[in-house]
């Protein structure tokens, strides 16, 4: 019997080692797997490469992880926000490397990895600083930039409900990068607000099929502890 929900949050995370590339879901704080990030901080591992849309908000979640100095490099589209002071300080001090990627290219590069594509030609960014030095091609009257897939060792994502096979459904705009990151990582750990019985999720409504998910961890939304 396959049950992807047997490991505790800490057990699931303890597979992650120094130097890992980790995708973390979320757009701002919507869909950010805060409990998984807290667990990652407790591991005390270093030299991480993080893939996220942003670079943390306030002093919690991803920002808290950055603050520990555990992150060597971040790949994101929108680091600068009104409450991104943790990243801002690290960046200005030269303590973190930034790879800035237009948001749609971030999405399609993650998708390319998940779909097994070698690269994609995207029109986004053509003729801009973010395409400097990259291969380009003119196809049927339009200009494109060659962008390579972004793969990860781990994806940490947040879903609303999951079952023991790893099938997931999300909540509103917290879905964002979750489904595509789940496809692009060797090991995807999903924290869910509710672990449901197999069969409770309507096959027509499952957003992420369990094949893309290796571990499901139920998190009590009320007190934030791993089940």
């Amino acid at each position: 019997m396959i049950d992807k929900s047997t490991l505790t949050l800490t057990e699931a995370l303890s597979q992650i080692k120094d130097g890992a590339t980790i995708m973390i879901g979320g757009f701002g704080t919507a869909g950010q797997p805060a409990e998984l990030i807290d667990g990652l901080i407790e591991l005390g591992i270093k030299e991480l490469v993080i893939v996220n849309n942003n670079a943390g908000n306030g002093d919690y979640g991803l920002a808290k992880l950055l603050k520990t100095g555990a992150v060597r490099k971040i790949i994101c589209s929108f680091p600068r926000q009104s409450d991104s002071w943790v990243f801002d300080e690290l960046y200005r001090a030269g303590k973190i490397e930034l790879e800035l990627v237009p948001q749609g290219n971030l999405a399609c590069r993650i998708q390319a990895a998940g779909m097994g594509l070698g690269a994609v030609f995207t029109p986004t960014g053509f003729g801009t600083l973010l395409a400097e030095g990259k291969e380009t091609r003119h196809i049927e009257g339009k200009d494109y930039v060659l962008e390579y897939p972004i793969k990860a060792d781990f994806a940490l994502i947040k879903a609303h409900q999951g079952d023991r096979w790893g099938n997931l459904v999300y909540n509103k705009s917290a879905r964002n990068f979750g489904p595509i990151m789940a496809m692009a990582a060797d090991i995807t750990i999903a924290q869910v607000s509710e672990l449901v019985e197999l069969g409770q999720l309507d096959p027509e409504h499952i957003i992420t099929p369990g094949i893309f998910v290796q571990h499901v961890v139920a998190v009590d939304a009320a007190n934030g502890t791993g089940a």
Partner: protein
């Protein structure tokens, strides 16, 4: 003669008049977001947000905010009946794949050929952030720009060639400023409307690129 500049709300109201019934529209952060306040109730306009919302609605009532229902500006929103959620891959398929009818964006500069700069000042100490701006610039069927005609220091924002780093090349279709409405065409920048009391010569003097007078009367 003296003239009155349009307020930010007046610019938003003017853009709203050009958004047709049934349009799929992405409104950028800031002034463009205000356009939603002026969309007539008898039109179905589908507002898209890059973080996975189609047909979202106004902010929720106090106390009903949901941290997992936000727009691209990370403000609380609601969903209209018939609205939908989707992941980032699909959201950027809508944006990059030419499915959005109109994107309305802000600008640091727009060049005479429709090049747009709105993501980075290029200053050495600036932390760059781009978000979905480059995808919208190249992907939407029409790109509308809302902007002040000049910077606070009086510098023109409509210029012959960009001095700021580009967001997209030859992507702007129409510019709405606090002084005028300009169509970006093969023939050049055509002024189709301007505020009362402002002469074409005065407008040209405030602009960093050559304008063509296409106003009616």
């Amino acid at each position: 003669m003296s003239y009155q500049k349009l307020s930010r709300d007046q610019i938003a109201e003017r853009v709203a008049q050009d958004i047709p019934d049934g349009a799929y529209v992405n409104l950028g952060i800031g002034l463009p977001t205000k356009i939603s306040n002026y969309l007539p109730a008898d039109k179905d306009v589908f507002l898209h947000s890059e973080n996975g919302l189609l047909a979202f609605g106004p902010p929720p009532a106090k106390g009903e905010e949901d941290p997992e229902l936000i727009n691209a500006g990370k403000e609380y929103v609601t969903m209209l009946t018939g609205g939908s959620f989707f992941h980032h891959g699909d959201s950027f398929a809508m944006m990059r794949g030419g499915h959005l009818d109109i994107a309305v964006l802000g600008a640091f500069q727009v060049a005479a050929n429709g090049d747009l700069a709105n993501w980075h000042t290029g200053a050495a100490d600036a932390i760059p952030a781009v978000g979905g701006a480059m995808d919208l610039a190249v992907g939407a069927k029409k790109v509308f720009i809302t902007t002040d005609h000049n910077t606070k220091q009086g510098e023109p924002k409509i210029v012959e060639t960009l001095s700021y780093p580009a967001t997209g090349l030859k992507c702007v279709d129409r510019i709405y400023t606090d002084l005028c409405v300009i169509d970006v065409t093969q023939d050049g920048l055509k002024v189709i409307e301007k505020v009362d009391g402002l002469s074409f010569a005065e407008l040209q003097a405030l602009t960093g690129a050559k304008l063509i007078d296409a106003t009616q009367g």
